[in-house]
Symmetry: C2
Subunit: 465 residues, 2 copies
């Protein structure tokens, strides 16, 4: 049967598939750094070329930011139509000195787990994952001369930088992008060899605040005590974001819309998930932070969070400078669940800062994206066949799980196109996503490709509804 033929071709072509992934990984498409804009465009054009070669009608589409990649390939008459989503942009690479190999010179090395690892920025998030689908389509087409169903691909370049241009693009191109279901490949598995489909995703609100006190940097000896210190003020404000005793976020109305997790779900998770100590051990920690009364897994899967992602002020170099600075800056993000309202929380954060500001100091805010949490309903018709296909490939039951990360596109696809999404990804906890030495297991790349071949056949067998 042709499914087996496609799987065999995927195995035989693995080296070529890997070389193509390496080509894409060599492009430093860091979307948040303006000077890398040309690299983002280069990555988009590379994808258009590759997709064109495997029979997609592909093109780049301009946006106010980095271009989108859109591609279409028709399947048999009456077959379902899927919209695949991924992103070609990557996170910044600092601190560079912690990388064991250059972030944009991908290498294949044997990792501590004994697995061969593709090491490069974007290996797992999200270029490696995108390429599992591209290469699956390549194998399917080589085996059958066509795809088992109609596929539209949308690959954006601003997932790591707020992605403000996605929603307008989805709305403006609703008719072209509408399909029966969206397939989003930007998530992980439950563990090595344990496939999963993510049905719960946290939303996010990103905020940057800069506090200004004196009109210039001062001598801390001459002014220490008398002139307000913006770093001290910022620390007070940020420290107040969480209740020290309970670990709960203190923002007004923060927990409105946060769902209560059924006891049976919590029990199941405690069964399949790692203990707090085991879950934190890989990153060198043992005690869960955050809210009292929830496991580390619950806190990332289904509880909202508040994190300080960056802080800066005064003299940060070697040595010491007795400066009392004029300004201090922090970047803060909130992960949202259930029906928490991003803009209400942004407003609550700004109010939290303003109410703690002395009359002679000021705060300036910059919004860095906001998205609601999203939940894929368990009775969605494409879910069972997809789970079954994954189980066949991995020879392990496929679980339905949550994810601490935010993938705004799920909500946006729902709002703009009225479509559900299946979140199928092959990342692992230890992929060092957003960190130095990001990697993607070669086996995840290989079996990911094979998984998509099985999933696409399984979905093709579904009747359109």
């Amino acid at each position: 049967m042709t499914e087996q033929a496609a799987l065999d071709l995927a195995d035989k072509g693995l080296d070529d598939s890997l070389n193509r992934l390496f080509d894409l990984l060599r492009i430093p498409s860091i979307s948040t750094q303006p000077d890398h804009a040309p690299d983002c465009r280069k990555a988009a054009e590379w994808l258009v070329k590759e997709l064109g070669e495997i029979g997609f009608e592909a093109s780049t589409r301009e946006t106010p930011g980095h271009p989108m990649v859109v591609a279409h390939a028709k399947g048999p008459e009456g077959s379902p139509h899927v919209l695949f989503y991924g992103h070609y942009d990557v996170q910044p690479v600092d601190p560079l000195n912690l990388w064991t190999s250059a972030p944009f010179e991908p290498v294949l090395v044997k990792g501590p787990t004994g697995e061969m690892e593709i090491t490069a920025r974007g290996a797992a998030d999200d270029k490696g994952q995108v390429m599992t689908f591209v290469e699956a389509c390549r194998a399917l087409r080589a085996a059958d001369g066509t795809l088992p169903l109609s596929v539209t691909m949308l690959i954006e370049g601003e997932e790591e930088s707020g992605g403000v241009n996605l929603m307008p693009f989805l709305k403006a191109n609703r008719n072209e992008l509408k399909a029966d279901v969206a397939l989003i490949c930007d998530t992980g598995m439950l563990g090595r060899g344990m496939p999963a489909i993510t049905t719960m995703l946290r939303g996010m609100v990103g905020e940057e605040v800069t506090i200004t006190c004196a009109n210039r940097d001062l001598h801390s000896g001459m002014y220490g005590n008398a002139a307000r210190n913006p770093i001290q003020l910022l620390c007070d404000i940020l420290s107040d974001l969480r209740d020290g005793a309970t670990g709960r976020v203190t923002l007004q109305g923060f927990y409105e819309g946060v769902p209560v997790i059924p006891e049976e779900t919590r029990a199941l998770w405690r069964k399949i998930g790692p203990t707090d100590a085991d879950g934190l051990a890989p990153v060198g920690l043992s005690l869960p932070a955050g809210e009292i009364g929830y496991t580390a897994l619950e806190q990332t899967w289904c509880r909202p969070s508040c994190e300080i992602n960056g802080i800066s002020g005064g003299y940060e170099d070697k040595g010491f400078k007795t400066v009392l600075p004029s300004k201090a800056m922090a970047k803060v993000s909130f992960r949202l669940v259930g029906n928490q309202n991003p803009e209400a929380i942004r407003a609550a954060f700004r109010a939290h800062v303003e109410t703690r500001l002395p009359a002679d100091c000021k705060a300036e805010f910059t919004a860095h994206g906001g998205s609601r949490a999203s939940i894929v309903s368990a009775d969605m018709p494409f879910l069972p066949p997809a789970l079954k296909a994954l189980e066949e490939e991995w020879q392990h039951p496929a679980a339905v799980i949550g994810c601490g990360g935010s993938i705004p596109v799920v909500t946006e696809v729902q709002e703009a196109l009225g479509m559900d999404s299946l979140l199928i990804g092959f990342g692992l906890e230890d992929d060092r996503v957003h960190s130095p030495n990001e990697k993607y297991d070669l086996s995840c790349f290989h079996k990911g490709m094979r998984s998509w071949i099985r999933v696409l056949y399984a979905l093709a067998a579904q009747n359109k509804h």
Copy 2:
């Protein structure tokens, strides 16, 4: 009389004096930045050359850090012997973009006060002040062929970087450096045209702390809530350094040895000093921070402080990165008064951090200098004639004041050489010391020179005791 002759020569030679100061200001002798070590040496050698040309027996002396400049000139038999202290090193210049002219290309410009201002890093702290004394000696020598008393000069290169090598150097060269009184030119006046001698100086303890939680940077979505955030932890720890209600520093035993200021002194200061609003207006503030119940002036002159001089962690660049960092760093300094013990306070700070650290996180500390506060006794014999000399030059009563800054050398000269110090300086509140666009009024430089001529004659008239 020769005093008048020397004053006239100082007036006539002002342009040449200014050119020599500009030569010194062009040397970027930033002691805290290792790559500027050669510049520090260059500044030291420049001073040795200049002092040699006006009859001093001058040389550089090696230390484990930057070299010292030591120079001697004998006065008449039986005349008093003074030790002059200053420093040739300067603070870093960041943020560079806020400078209106290059920090090491001195310019003379008319300032907002209408005064001509010498603008450059080090113009006031401390090269400009050092040169008022050097040029005074030049004029005295030109007028009399000799100095009215014996002068030893000690000009160090590590005042802005902890100065750990000064004390050992003083002890090792006790016999050579011992004199009747030390003259230290690194302080300011009470206000424009209002001369002062500083008799109260705060000490300082500098500490750097780095908090490490996870063993690498994490994705704040994947780990947010569950993994400890070192920035959050650092903010909590730093926020706890002050009591929010009273503004008092919370360190165990911090206020031990802090003297109570007599009510009459406080009353006098309220009379001669600016109001809180007036004192803070030049830096764009109106409300005093720090301890409740003390004026801004009292808080800087006679109350201990705690300031955060720098903080850093996570993603600080443009845009946003959803990172949960592994480390966060802060630089903290405490200004000490009375008999506060620097090492006891350093230990209390480290204990404050350690007790707030979860078992799976760690803190690393770096000490950045420590010195006791110092007080010059009001009945010191050289004080009255010096005050009188200043009053004659400025035609305004010379006040005895406190200073928020720390000049460890005062304590060290007392401990190592058993000598009192007279702190005579000509800096002003608005000199932007340690900040962009540091300046020194041309009139302060000129009248500072003239002041030293008068002071040296006045001290020469004192009988040795």
